[in-house]
Chain length 206, copies 4
DNA sequence: GATGAATGAGGTTTCATTCAT
DNA sequence: CATGAATGAAACCTCATTCAT
């Protein structure tokens, strides 16, 4: 039990540091933030961060992995449970937007600050991103196979279009300083994408 | 004539510095690059850069403005000359992709390094980006008015989807290290987008 | 205790840095000195100075304040204990000269290098200097009130004459590279000043 | 004659540069001024300054020498014509104060900026200053010999007191931002100094 | 003589990272 | 585990001085 408690306490501190990093990076940018500032925000000493993370870059990488893998693992079964095709595509878009709508600071870090050309960061992020692209590809691909989307749809490109559209929607939302609710973009965007992928017009009382 | 010659020579050196900056930033990233490296690449002394640019950030900003405004000014008349609707949309996508396909280093800088949270950089880039979004909005909006796209299309969102899709296409192309020709994505992507915007299915002799 | 010890240690290092700054500034001048040189002289890393002082200018300002305020606080009670009039004036002059005679490097910094037109330096020095002028004014003013000096003496000007005379005496001593003992100027200078202020000729058994 | 005209023109430009230097140094301090700023103020190109002055320091030195030697040469005969003793001392003080009262920018440069620890500057200034101290010493010495001042007056110290008193008067005037006319200090200060040097009380109807 | 673009050495300051306590 | 003082490399930027025109 003590060991568990210890491990838990350690996990807690690590989590506190990561949460602090999100807030600080969102506020000042990755390069504009110092380890000292993150430490202060987390309420720990500067050196303490290095007990949990080897380098500054690992804050960004771990941050991303923790949140994004949780998102992936949460999303996979939910998607599997949804009907193949437009509905599943819609759920994926909903999960994507909801993920960012729920935490603006995290959204800011993910959309802007994590896109570092730094090789360590890029490398640390790549696997999860690849998994996400695979997931998107699955959702679209199964839709194609089920006849929900155009049979000649280039799944590789379609998933890029899908991700790009949602990504830019989130970025635009951040840019606009919250003048609209991010989730309000869900249906129109999915409408465009689904139609673009060749789904029969929905909402159409044919 | 001497003054003209002088001005020309100055422009030349400025251009040489900017070209060097593109190469260096593409190679090492903005934060990974030093003024000394850029200067060496340009074949001038470090201090010389400061005769043409006040700060390091101005390299990025000027770089962007020069290339992107030229792109905008070149595109506007070309678009105006193209038939409203899908064809004009296709031309816009073509210009967009061609712009990046033609200079990989520049593409790299535009897609990755220029997205700096640094306020000076962000502020310097905003006007041109806003103008581009307006241009995209025009292309889509005129299409809607002409009945080429769905009458209830949300132009604001549509242009975000359009930009996001193309942007991600370019990014994916950069990520893939040239395993495919960027221009080969043009037709499939435009196909998806046009259909998504409610254009009647093209190429289909149904 | 540990906190006290820590604070003490910190004070020690700060003091070591300041002492090094005095030596280096005296030797090479303020503008001729680099933070690296001061750090080396203090036996610390360059960056360490910035843990104790925000800017290079603060070295000069803090240096001055530490020494001069100590001088002021030490002098005030001593002066209050001396008989009003010439004797008190003499003590003030003695304290002034002794202050510089005791540490030639410090004298050099105070007489030459601290007179920086730099606003930060000037501003940091002003309050202590104003307090000193007030103190001089008190010594002369009480003398006037007590009838020890001419009743129509302009105290404002008199204190300027007093300070100027001593200041130049110290500067002259520094210029002369120690060919005479600074303290040997005490009695002649005080003699001139006291007589000039209207004190009855002393030592003269007329 | 053309050669003379050329030399004259050259002298003019040199004078313009020096005048510009006075203004710029007074405004921004010696170290806060750049050769480019001085050149701009003088209406010449940066490089032109180097046709007339070898180094930045020479601006300060030449500046000083020009004005101060003129002051010395003008003062010597005037002093010789004045009655030995208090009157001559008073004239010297008057010339000194008038010299500064007439050009505030020059006063600022002389009182503050010229006191550079820089060896080139210090060396360039020394001879003129030594000559001035000799002159002061002459005025006081002849007074002593003539019985106008105390026979046991230490001329070396007295001239230091004299110079220090006037110097601080000018500095105080500069510090006070002109709240009083510098010349108004002449009589009180000379009164103190003359009495201090052992002159029989003046204005006293003994 | 005059210009002003170019040079490049050099300084202040920052900050990721370490390590003695 | 935690601390935070210390490190020192590195970078941006300035500016006195030069020199081709």
């Amino acid at each position: 039990m003590p060991r568990t408690a210890g491990a838990t306490k350690a996990r807690d501190k690590e989590a506190r540091i990561l949460a602090a990093a999100v807030r600080v990076f969102a506020r000042q940018g990755y390069h504009g933030s110092t380890m000292a500032t993150v430490a202060a925000e987390a309420g720990v000493a500067t050196g303490t961060i290095y007990l949990y993370f080897e380098r500054k870059q690992d804050l960004l990488v771990t941050l991303f992995q923790r949140h994004f893998n949780e998102y992936l693992e949460r999303s996979r079964p939910a998607l599997a449970a949804a009907p193949v095709g437009v509905e599943r595509l819609r759920l994926l878009a909903e999960l994507h937007l909801a993920f960012f709508a729920e935490d603006r600071a995290l959204a800011s870090v993910f959309q802007i600050h994590i896109r570092e050309p730094d090789p360590v960061v890029a490398e640390g992020i790549r696997p999860s991103m690849a998994a996400y692209f695979d997931l998107i590809g699955d959702v679209i691909g199964t839709g194609v196979e089920a006849g929900a989307f155009a049979p000649d749809l280039d799944v590789r490109l379609a998933r890029q279009v899908f991700f790009g559209a949602l990504d830019e929607t989130v970025t635009g939302w951040l840019r606009s300083k919250r003048t609209f609710a991010l989730m309000s973009a869900l249906d129109p965007v999915v409408g465009i994408l689904a139609r673009g992928f060749g789904a029969p017009s929905t909402g159409d009382p044919s």
